[in-house]
Symmetry: C2
Subunit: 159 residues, 2 copies
DNA sequence: ACCGATTGTGTGGCTAGCCAAGTAATTGCT
DNA sequence: AGCAATTACTTGGCTAGCCACACAATCGGT
């Protein structure tokens, strides 16, 4: 339906516009998010961590990275920068001094509504061109693709 | 771990799983591409530039960045690293010594088939969970979302 | 011709994100 | 108890990607 024909795309290079579409979509989406986040002195990715903390203050770093799915080093560095920015604190847990418990500061909590607004705005814009059903289908398929790709990443490429 | 199914997602934080789905899909997809590219000593993003050159050797840096849509500084640095790796050459054009003409070396050309294979493989895997119609619909909607977001990025946020 | 505007690239500086290696604390096995 | 394995996190090193600034070559108007 509609025009999926698409005039110029790197067809000649490969014949898979799906990967290309994912790449371009993610870049545009991320770019727009970055622009909105900049107004709050945040960087893309940080809002995901903060959103987890808004709902579950006091999470450990490990629980945090499990929820967002990023590399532990990425989370560590990102949290450090946010700590330097005064948005949160990190202290070793009493019962296990390896784990770092993350708590929001007042400044961090103040970002809850702005981030929620920005998130809603981003969502509203992203969804504008599609019907609700299409959006739901899109999300479902995105998860299917993600899962498929992830499963293949785990497995050794013994294909 | 193991079950990253979909039970808990940051619903409480915002109610827009679309943005989250895009983010996670892109990350998984990019990660898988990165793993395959690593075998060729490439980094994600470089294959896009190379694919353009496979079909249009002798492009200028400006034409190249226009096709992939990245920032000129990103392209500049990425090309420099690929030049250092011996994959391509950059020389100022005769008629306009500002523009840099990019040419593949033999080593660069040798990557054409490996990259095409990798791209096809990535595509095949990504598509595995969906029907052909679903894939086409997904791509079409992805482009719609991308366009919508991009249009809103251009406009000042005078909403 | 001249000099300001524009164009095409390069560089610096920042964060995101990954992998690999290192460190400290806890657990577990003997 | 003691010591190896595991766990939680940190650090270093690399590239991608952006923005802002700098620079050289070309274009344009007078």
């Amino acid at each position: 339906m509609s025009d999926i024909t698409s005039p110029e795309l790197p067809d000649a290079a490969g014949e898979g516009p799906l990967s290309y579409a994912i790449f371009q979509l993610a870049r545009a989406h991320r770019g727009h998010a970055a622009a909105m986040l900049r107004a709050m002195n945040l960087h893309p990715g940080q809002e995901l961590l903060l959103m987890q903390l808004f709902d579950h203050d006091g999470l450990t770093q490990g629980e945090l990275l499990e929820r967002v799915g990023l590399d532990h080093s990425t989370v560590s560095k990102s949290l450090r920068r946010m700590q330097d920015a005064g948005l949160l604190t990190r202290e070793p847990a009493a019962h296990d001094r390896r784990v770092m418990v993350v708590h929001l500061t007042d400044a961090g909590r103040d970002l809850k509504e702005p981030i929620a607004d920005m998130w809603r705005s981003l969502e509203k814009i992203s969804v504008r061109g599609l019907t609700a059903d299409q959006v739901q289908a899109f999300i479902g398929w995105a998860r299917v693709i993600e899962k498929t790709v992830r499963d293949h990443s785990r497995r050794p490429p013994a294909e």
